[in-house]
């Protein structure tokens, strides 16, 4: 069960990384902005952080 959960979070982390990279690639140079580019960057960072946070919790800092 714990291993399956870890795989899910690894998937979330990977998804975040992919979204972040795609967002960064389609985001135009300043000062232009892209709605989809910034949306993907925001979603990518959110998933990435949620994935990283899970592994920090999994490492069990209270032990």
């Amino acid at each position: 069960m714990a291993m399956k959960l870890a795989m899910v979070y690894a998937g979330i982390l990977l998804l975040g990384l992919v979204l972040l990279i795609i967002g960064a690639l389609i985001e135009p140079a300043r000062p232009a902005i892209s709605q989809s580019g910034e949306s993907l960057i925001a979603l990518g960072l959110a998933f990435l952080l949620i994935g990283v946070g899970f592994f920090l919790a999994w490492a069990n800092p209270t032990r």
């Binding site: 714990a2 902005i33 709605q35 910034e38 925001a42 960072l45 920090l56 919790a57 999994w58 800092p61």
Partner: protein, 201 residues
């Protein structure tokens, strides 16, 4: 070291009881999210300055524009107070309630505590995007021609990216709250126990 309401069978990552742990964890989570929001521009995202927005709400746009530093500090006090109160609500009410209603999250493990924090961040994102921004910030900015749109879908020059950036902001808050407010059984050799006692007993 005592746990919740005098129970000595629960320990916290910060503080000796749920209330104190919640206040400190929520302050840290609010500060990290607030600072990250100010730095969002560096990642090509809309800047989220909740200190200034809260200042505009209580001091008015005219005063806020004329006195940005005072507006930032006053708004910051309100914003941090809100962040701490939402954190205490999470720790004392929502955290044990989730454990009671969602059985897989009943055990007091760091991972379950973390998942609860992330869920709370998503709830606050919905509250912020559906109510706080459109109902309070929208009418406030309407006279100067800055809209918010339904569910934060057209904030100023931004489209739906403001909504997702708001999700990122509240995820940062929820992640840190879930990691820092982490009640676990005090006995190291004991198995994880039910969450039924924490925050409600």
């Amino acid at each position: 070291m005592e746990g919740e309401h005098g129970n000595s069978d629960v320990k916290f990552l910060i503080g000796h009881n749920a209330g104190r742990s919640a206040i400190i964890a929520a302050f840290i989570a609010t500060h990290i999210a607030t600072m990250a929001g100010l730095w969002f521009g560096g990642a090509r995202l809309p800047q989220f300055d909740f200190n200034t927005l809260n200042g505009y709400l209580v001091l008015g746009l005219n005063y806020g524009f004329a006195n940005p530093a005072i507006n930032f500090v006053v708004g910051g006090i309100i914003h941090y107070t809100s962040g701490i109160i939402w954190g205490v609500v999470f720790a004392l009410i929502v955290h044990p309630a989730i454990g009671r209603f969602i059985k897989p999250l009943a055990a007091l493990t760091p991972v379950n505590n973390y998942i609860k924090g992330v869920l709370w961040g998503i709830v606050l994102w919905i509250i912020s995007s559906a109510f706080w921004m459109p109902l309070l910030i929208g009418p406030l900015f309407a006279p100067i021609g800055v809209g918010v749109g339904p569910f934060l879908t057209s904030f100023g020059p931004y489209g739906v990216q403001a909504l997702f950036t708001n999700l990122l902001w509240h995820s940062i808050y929820g992640i840190n709250l879930g990691l820092l407010f982490s009640p676990t059984p005090a006995g190291g050799s004991r198995t994880w126990r039910s969450t039924s006692g924490v925050g409600v007993r």
